[in-house]
């Protein structure tokens, strides 16, 4: 077979360049796509499948009438959150843009894929048929993201870590404060009750909160399960096993129906709170199992070394065991984070209008009855952008912490 080194000497000019590239392409295709009759067969089959997906799936889809998305974009993203108060949601978005850019700026090297995807989504949003004020916000977000990205490069690693840490820890409380508000109806920041929250806003509020809370709760449950106190151990084990033995739907129904009965009538928690409790309970149990697995991976000798240095049990956990557990658990944690994000779609079953709830409401409107495909595809795209950003950010984190030596497969 002809190899690259057998090629005639270097040619000059555009023609030479083209023939060199073409030669290389043929060589690459021969070795990688048609190396054996079996490879060739696989290549042909894959090409056929790809071609049919494009011709029967994507092309017809592009030809559909997508006005349903344009008309309902506000609903899909924020539900019935009052229009005049949308600036508060935008501020939260801008905050994420700024510190998202900031956090990744410090990572150095090329722009990470997740950031690129988010940027692409933003540009898409900017070009999409949305109101001028929204465009202004999106433009502002892109600018802040770049500002964050480049400003973080001016700081040293320590300052960067502190600022990013503080920013992300305060993010959830801040966004709750922004979204919920504080003043009476005539104040500058009127309260918007949670039953007005909807769409992507609701999805993110519930899933981010349950990620943030099920993480420490799961850790406590896992430690409780290993406790030497019988009662603590029994209670943790019981909670974990019961919750894991029941589907999320059931837990949501239980939370919906039982929590109001269990609590005094004066409290009367909103459906939002009930759903949140259900989702958090469910995910803490799974998180506890993740932590248990991680804790089991640490050899007994580490505890012994710490004990021989007279470190107390608590300090051993904090300084010796947990840092090792966390590092190993990043891949598992990320997959449960994306799982949480997607599972949240089930809350529509107890009447909350998250993205899925909203979309079924939209397609049940006779005007949009024929547009269910478009709505579904749009939902899928949003979920994909979110989950793929999370997981590709985590590959980066893993690579930086040296968790995995092999490259995680990616595009």
């Amino acid at each position: 077979m002809k190899t690259l080194s057998d090629e005639p000497g270097p040619k000059t000019g555009a023609r030479g360049w083209i023939s060199r590239v073409a030669g290389r392409a043929v060589f690459w295709a021969r070795t990688n796509l048609f190396g054996s009759w079996f490879d060739s067969l696989l290549t042909m089959a894959t090409l056929w499948v790809a071609a049919s997906i494009v011709s029967r799936g994507l092309l017809p889809m592009a030809a559909l009438d997508w006005s349903v998305i344009r008309d309902n974009l506000k609903l899909i993203l924020t539900g019935s959150y009052p229009e005049p108060q949308l600036w508060r949601v935008w501020i939260a978005v801008l905050y994420v843009s700024l510190f998202g850019g900031f956090s990744f700026g410090g990572a150095g090297g090329r722009m990470p894929r997740s950031l690129a995807i988010v940027a692409a989504a933003q540009c898409f949003l900017f070009l999409a048929p949305i109101s001028t004020s929204s465009k202004a916000y999106v433009a502002c977000g892109i600018a802040l993201q770049l500002a964050g990205f480049f400003s973080s490069r001016l700081l040293d690693a320590r300052a960067r870590a502190w600022i990013a840490g503080a920013a992300w820890i305060s993010f959830l409380p801040l966004s709750f404060f922004l979204a919920y508000g504080m003043t009476g109806p005539d104040g500058w920041m009127p309260v918007v009750a949670t039953n007005y929250w909807g769409g992507l806003l609701l999805t993110l509020m519930i899933s981010l909160t349950s990620i943030a809370l099920s993480f420490p709760l799961g850790l406590l449950l896992a430690l409780g399960r290993r406790s030497s106190l019988v009662l603590v151990r029994a209670a943790s084990t019981c909670f974990i096993e019961v919750v894991r033995g029941v589907p999320l739907i059931t837990i949501l129904f239980i939370a919906y129906l039982i929590i109001p009965l269990a609590l005094p009538a004066s409290l009367n928690p909103s459906v939002f709170i009930r759903a949140m409790i259900g989702v958090i309970a469910f995910h803490s149990a799974y998180m506890a199992e993740n932590f248990r697995g991680g804790l089991q991976g640490i050899p007994r000798t580490q505890y012994e070394a710490a004990a021989s240095l007279n470190l107390s049990k608590g300090k051993t956990m904090v300084f010796v065991i947990l840092p090792q557990v966390m590092k190993r658990m990043i891949p598992v944690l990320v997959s449960s984070f994306t799982g949480t994000l997607k599972d949240t779609s089930l809350i529509s079953i107890i009447g909350l209008l998250d993205m899925i709830g909203i979309s079924s409401a939209i397609v049940s409107n006779p005007e949009y009855m024929t547009s269910s495909t478009q709505v579904l595809v749009f939902m899928a795209a949003i979920y994909f952008v979110l989950c793929y950003s999370i997981s590709s950010a985590s590959y980066r984190l893993e690579a930086r912490l040296g968790v995995t030596t092999t490259k995680a497969g990616g595009l």
Partner: protein, 252 residues
């Protein structure tokens, strides 16, 4: 630590019994006294209970009857006593057991900072001095995974020394090492012995035992079978069991 009266042993074990399971008695009544500034080498066949015995001394294993008194403090279930005993005993393990997520410096300073409440800078200064002492001064910012076995073991020794123990316990510190690294670790231990630190060493390195030890303790089947100075023990063993063991290991 209480001050010892003249002639009082620094570690005193009286009729120590330990069971791992109700049927399996590992230590069958061990009594022995260790004196300050002396080097004791514990030898014996595999599974005879040497590790269990030494781990009992700093409370990593609990004994069920008998008494262990370290520096005047009796090992009981009380956490206070356990801490008092452990603060006097450093322990070096066969598999080093460094904390893999911490640099060499952080491995050494973790306990001084968080247990002894030393200031960060004081702890770092002392860590550097200790690294110097074990010949690892150039490796402070490395991680355990980047070091050879012998280097890791020397860092582990420095980590134990950083807690200012008066006794160092070694459980086969060179068994996991390649031959060319054994000497660098034994040299550090010899230097500790020369500085009159109390050492209790489980080892199969007979050269070290003969040259450095003040006493040899021979363990078999959960009991101390024979004790003596290295000369007497290796030159003129009394017990048949000892003779058999020595003939087996000297064959190699």
């Amino acid at each position: 630590m209480k001050t010892l009266r003249a002639g009082e042993p620094i570690i005193s074990c009286r009729d120590v019994h330990k069971w791992y399971t109700p049927e399996f008695e590992v230590l069958k009544g061990v009594s022995y006294d260790f004196y300050e500034g002396e080097v004791t080498v514990v030898i014996g066949p595999s599974g005879s209970g040497k590790s269990t015995f030494v781990r009992t001394i700093n409370g990593l294993e609990e004994h069920q009857s008998g008494s262990v008194v370290v520096g005047g403090v009796e090992l009981t279930h009380s956490v206070k006593n356990l801490n008092a005993v452990r603060s006097q005993c450093g322990m070096v393990f066969q598999s080093f057991n460094l904390f893999p997520h911490l640099s060499v410096m952080d491995n050494i300073t973790l306990a001084p900072i968080w247990v002894k409440k030393e200031s960060k800078s004081a702890a770092r200064d002392r860590a550097m001095a200790l690294l110097e002492r074990v010949g690892m001064a150039g490796h402070a910012s490395k991680y355990p995974g980047q070091l050879s076995g012998g280097e890791q073991q020397r860092v582990a020794i420095a980590r134990s020394l950083a807690m200012d123990p008066s006794i160092m316990l070694f459980d086969e510190p060179t068994s996991a090492l390649d031959p060319e690294m054994i000497k660098e670790v034994l040299d550090v231990m010899t230097e500790l012995a020369d500085s009159r630190m109390t050492l209790v060493v489980i080892t199969h390195e007979l050269g070290f035992a003969k040259a450095v030890a003040d006493h040899i303790v021979f363990f078999d089947n959960g009991k101390i079978v024979e004790t003596g100075s290295p000369d007497a023990f290796f030159g003129d063993p009394r017990e048949e069991r000892t003779k058999l063991f020595l003939s087996q290991i000297l064959q190699h």
